[in-house]
Symmetry: C2
Subunit: 228 residues, 2 copies
């Protein structure tokens, strides 16, 4: 039993080692990268497409699409908007890891990139344990999933630096106690920055987009300063 | 590389072996068991509560609740309706397996039970690979998750014997092409029995409940015949 735990730790350490290398490569090129986590159907791709709409004229963007199946549905949507997209097929695996991300990075012209968005596999459990080397983990919850998700999937709520609450346009049609939800989040991750929004109506998107633009800009200024 | 694959196969075989033992124990007691799979927030617990409402006077029910965290939110809801519920905490693991199910079985008076409903961990990937020993796998999709899920999570759509499409009351408020969704399902699992329904309004529930009651009854008749 203790031997089995040891093996798991070694895998995580190898992954963390590669994640650190990925981070160095991103930093060297002044690229700000976020890792988007969510349940299937919470709206990861919709948020990414809305973000592209809002930011593609101000920033140079790239997207990594993680999927368990060899389908390019999401990558095609991103490419159709003129943004470079790289598809990672995990071969049935339930999460991206630092090795997969490392293999995707050379597909981009990193020196030209400001912001790299990674769409992880739709899953609230496994991706929490595998860092990629991105700068921030962003979780997307969605109203129709229900208000009890922080209580049921605490691991992923603990490990993120921003939270989007998507599909707020559906609040009138479902049972979702926002206070109960927020209490759960606050318990796990005090002070977490949160963006309630609707990709469908556009409500609330600006706050998210401006937060992301500012974080990307801060990174870019660091790069310029570093080069001086 | 080939060594790593071998280890995975051995784990699956050990799980299948235990699943077969679980099935024998269920069969010996004439218990019909289903394994409910879904994404987080698709409505597993709501379907179970509606099923209890509809069937608890006709059948003797039991529920196993799988959760990654030590919370008894769902088990408490089931117990409150007078149905025995056993909570399995997977300790962060992303799926139930045959060992956990085996540990839960002695908590029930199997000789008195007609139908045992297992609520698996909310996840569209990992639970597909671990049989428990139940008689049927039932997948719950939900309208707000989007119509592309069969294309993105083919493994789980291939491995089930019934499909519930929950939250059809939200069809007017979201983009969901039912034909596109059904084509994806048909490609992966031809002829799969499907129940579009809404736990919120009750629409479509009767077809699901009667299908489940008939399957449970058929099992019970087999038991009586076997005992004769």
């Amino acid at each position: 039993m203790s031997q089995r735990v040891m093996v798991v730790e070694q895998i995580l350490n190898a992954n963390d080692q590669l994640a650190a290398e990925n981070r160095l490569k991103l930093d060297a090129n002044g690229v700000f990268a976020i890792n988007i986590l969510a349940s299937p159907g919470a709206g990861k791709t919709s948020v990414i497409l809305r973000t592209i709409e809002a930011l593609s004229e101000r920033l140079s963007l790239g997207v990594v699409e993680g999927d368990t199946a060899p389908v390019t549905i999401d990558a095609d949507k991103v490419s159709a908007r003129g943004v470079p997209a790289v598809q990672i097929n995990t071969g049935g695996n339930c999460h991206l890891d630092a090795v997969m991300f490392q293999m995707a990075l050379p597909q981009f012209d990193l020196a030209q990139l400001d912001l790299l968005i990674v769409e992880n596999v739709g899953n609230l459990i496994c991706p929490a344990n595998f860092r990629l080397g991105t700068h921030k983990n962003v979780l997307i919850a969605s109203v129709p999933e229900g208000d009890d998700k922080p209580y049921k999937y605490p691991g992923i709520y603990r490990g993120v630096e921003a939270l989007i609450i998507n599909k707020i346009d559906l609040l009138p049609y479902v049972t979702f106690d926002m206070d109960y939800f927020r209490r759960g989040v606050e318990m796990l991750n005090p002070g977490l920055v949160t963006f309630p929004l609707s990709c469908r109506t556009g409500e609330g998107l600006e706050a998210w987009v401006e937060w992301l633009a500012a974080a990307t800009q801060a990174k870019s200024i660091t790069r310029v300063a570093g080069k001086d």
